[in-house]
């Protein structure tokens, strides 16, 4: 039966995270925007102790949690909690120690033994990070063009290549975590040759050569990683080694995105909501109340802009929740995940820009966090699949076209 009610469990989690966002994130948000590349240790330790290394809002079958009773709602819950964390601060949210996207890849493609081997560490010891390295200098969205190679040598795989834009890559390799590296076992095989490999922290031959300076999400590290004869055990391959005629393996790897795209959309929502909340509050202090039940002729231009921005964000939120809800039900959500990501990435970009515009010089000033949120927002239109890639996926799905038919 159609309902937009969040379960008591999710609602409670949402409230708890909101308090945490207010108390532990907002007060240090500006500091770690300005001190790029410094670690918010206190916050990271706090989050590590609260979460026990479990990714916030990770799905119900996360390794450190028993099966919960009742219907599955881990993905929807993740959307809600990540929105709240990003309402606190998106950069700090991305700096939280957990298995992250690397963990998502292990969960999606790893064997039971691999899950235990690689993910167990997140339940103990010091804060750790997991990361995923896909992008290379010459290819981003076109993952099939990956040039990093993996060559079998006895009981090992030997990796060579350069990866960029690896979120939390530096932290993962410094902390005892791991990076999931996408590489080709056969350059002539295109996407059929692409496999993913777990490279653990401390492995010789992998090193970070640069941590990027960015427009926003500065509390998050974005690493350039070089692999030079980096030797890993054969068993660190996720999935199968054979290069099949079909592209099923590649598709399975890409399916990770069906789980992660709604989470990126959710992060976008949090930033957008923060901007709207602040703009509304600033306007109210100056005597401007937003009215909902009036026609355009009665509304000021600012009210109209605000209403449109808020509606756009709410539309994105409902699309995001739908994608998470479908995942929880075990339904294929490839189309819906890309719809949510495309809508939310663009909505938050526009909403934050509009809020800066509405507040004029106050909005542009660094005395408020608003200008930072506008800078943070833009990444959501880029990572985990750009706006354009997600539109392409939506288009293929609604038209029933393969990637060959619509490229």
């Amino acid at each position: 039966m159609i309902s937009f009610d969040l379960s008591p469990r999710i609602a409670e989690m949402k409230n708890a995270i909101r308090s945490l966002a207010e108390q532990a994130m907002r007060p240090i948000a500006r500091e770690f925007d300005e001190k790029e590349h410094e670690e918010p240790h206190e916050f990271q330790n706090l989050m590590w102790s609260i979460s026990g290394g479990r990714a916030f809002g990770s799905s119900d079958d996360a390794p450190n949690e028993g099966k919960s009773s009742g219907p599955r709602e881990g993905n929807l819950g993740a959307c809600v909690t990540i929105e709240e964390l990003s309402w606190g601060d998106a950069g700090l949210y991305l700096s939280i120690p957990n298995a992250g996207l690397g963990g998502a890849a292990v969960m999606a493609a790893g064997t039971a033994a691999q899950k235990t081997r690689f993910l167990g560490r997140f339940a103990e010891g010091q804060p750790k990070w997991g990361a995923m390295a896909i992008t290379e200098t010459h290819c981003g969205s076109d993952s099939a063009a990956i040039q990093t190679t993996a060559v079998r040598d006895g009981d090992d795989w030997v990796l060579n290549g350069t990866k960029i834009y690896c979120t939390s890559g530096d932290r993962a390799l410094r902390s005892g975590g791991f990076v999931v590296v996408w590489a080709t076992v056969d350059r002539t095989a295109g996407r059929r040759g692409i496999k993913s490999f777990v490279v653990e922290s401390g492995t010789p031959g992998i090193k970070v050569i640069k941590v990027e300076d960015k427009l926003g999400i500065r509390a998050s590290d974005t690493a350039m990683i070089v692999l030079e004869d980096c030797r890993i055990p054969a068993d660190n391959l996720l999935g199968v080694a054979e290069v099949h005629q079909s592209t099923e393996g590649f598709k399975a790897a890409m399916a990770t995105f069906d789980a992660t795209r709604p989470l990126v959309a959710a992060s976008a929502l949090g930033i957008g909501q923060a901007a709207l909340d602040l703009a509304r509050q600033e306007l109210a202090q100056r005597g401007v109340e937003i009215r909902y039940d009036r026609c355009d002729a009665h509304l000021s231009a600012i009210e109209r802009d605000f209403l449109d921005a808020e509606a756009d964000l709410q539309a994105a939120r409902l699309l995001t929740w739908r994608a998470g809800w479908m995942m929880d039900r075990g339904q294929r959500n490839n189309l819906e995940a890309s719809m949510a990501k495309a809508k939310a990435g663009l909505a938050v970009t526009r909403v934050t820009q509009k809020c800066v515009e509405i507040l004029g010089p106050i909005g542009y000033s660094r005395q408020l966090l608003l200008e930072k949120w506008m800078r943070d927002a833009k990444i959501n239109d880029i990572f985990e699949g750009t706006q354009q890639i997600n539109m392409l996926i939506v288009a293929r799905r609604i038209l029933g076209y393969s990637s060959k038919e619509l490229s």
């Binding site: 159609i2 937009f4 009665h298 539109m391 392409l392 076209y401």
Partner: protein, 360 residues
């Protein structure tokens, strides 16, 4: 708990309306638009579907069904997927009947509702007023007390079924705030004007109403109508119909783009076109989700003005964009009347004006 699954009953209702819309409504939509008439026989078929009278008490000839704004939104979307004019034509009696179910006195219900249970029955509501800055937060039409009577003065427009309606619910401002009144067709001072000529919804006859010192008894005032709530139901209906229209545009443009070839391939294989279609698909779903959210709040008894106004506002602008993009995908074919898209674009333009023309 968050859920987007329809109940079995809602699926059944939806499937019934889907068949009705595709078999009975779509095929005649263009002709109705050109001739400006809708066959009255459709009213009989709508009656057989229980579109108006199913929530009436059994004593009044209904089935006593509990009304749901969500189900209403599903029905309105599917009907409008068929044709907007015909949807408004078929649903207009709800404006009168539902206002009485929600806010009428026992006596008023007994006086008017059995007619709806007995067969197709024309009654309507006069909400919109002919001025650029009209909205439902303040009516220029006034009602003042005169002993035990009310005297109504003002101008209304876009009143569906006005030519044949037996009675109207008229919204007017009183010194104590807005209120709703039953005005029978034969009341002195009520003048039903010439049929309006609109850009869209041309199949639907709408008329202006002029009220000059129309005197009605106190017993014609709806005593218990929560007017803001009733208007929220109207916004949800508006948004739901916009969703149906937008979906129609999207599906037509999508199918066309897969057939139509340029430079040796279907134009849908060109990103410039494919991305427009993707945007349309996202917007259709966005409109529906916003609409359902508002409808769910209405059904749950939560405040819903923010959400219903948001859904209606978003739907009005988004549907217009979807319709315009659909026309663009068809190019010249979109502009000529052999294809339905120009009709849909004209209809879509109206959603920012149509609040008050339907309810759920």
């Amino acid at each position: 708990m968050f859920d987007l699954e329809l109940t079995d009953e809602q699926k059944l209702i939806r499937d019934t309306i889907v068949s009705f819309a595709s078999e009975k409504v779509r095929p005649i939509a263009r002709e109705c638009d050109e001739t400006g008439t809708i066959p009255a026989s459709l009213q009989t078929q709508a009656f057989e579907l229980g579109l108006i009278h199913s929530p009436l008490a059994e004593a009044h000839g209904g089935f006593g069904e509990i009304r749901s704004a969500v189900t209403g939104a599903i029905v309105a979307e599917e009907l409008a997927f068929g044709d907007l004019s015909i949807s408004l034509y078929l649903l207009a009696p709800r404006l009168f009947a539902y206002a009485l179910i929600d806010g009428g006195s026992e006596e008023q219900r007994a006086r008017f509702l059995p007619a709806f249970g007995a067969g197709p029955y024309s009654a309507s509501a006069a909400v919109v007023e002919p001025r650029f800055d009209f909205d439902t937060s303040s009516f220029a039409t006034t009602a003042r007390r005169d002993g035990n009577n009310w005297i109504l003065d003002g101008e209304k427009c876009l009143v569906p079924l006005a030519a044949e309606a037996s009675a109207f619910v008229v919204l007017a401002a009183t010194p104590e705030g807005s209120a709703a009144f039953i005005v029978e067709r034969d009341r002195a001072g009520l003048v039903i004007g010439e049929r309006e000529k609109n850009m869209g919804i041309k199949a639907l006859a709408t008329h202006p109403l002029s009220l000059k010192g129309v005197s009605i008894p106190e017993s014609n005032r709806l005593p218990d109508l929560d007017l803001p709530r009733w208007l929220d139901h109207g916004r949800v209906a508006n948004a739901a119909m916009a969703c149906g229209l937008a979906r129609g545009c999207f599906e037509f443009a999508r199918d066309y783009a897969k057939e139509r070839k340029a430079f040796g391939v279907p134009i849908a294989q060109k990103q410039a076109v494919a991305f427009m279609l993707a945007d349309m698909a996202i917007e259709v779903d966005a409109i529906r989700l916003l609409t359902w959210e508002a409808a769910w709040r209405l059904d749950t008894g939560l405040p819903a003005t923010t959400e219903s106004a948001r859904a209606s506002r978003y739907a009005a602008s988004s549907t217009l964009r979807v319709a315009d993009n659909a026309l663009q995908v068809l190019g010249g074919h979109g502009y000529i009347r052999d294809y339905p898209v120009e009709l849909w674009l004209r209809n879509a333009r109206g959603f920012s004006t149509f609040e008050g023309l339907a309810t759920v």
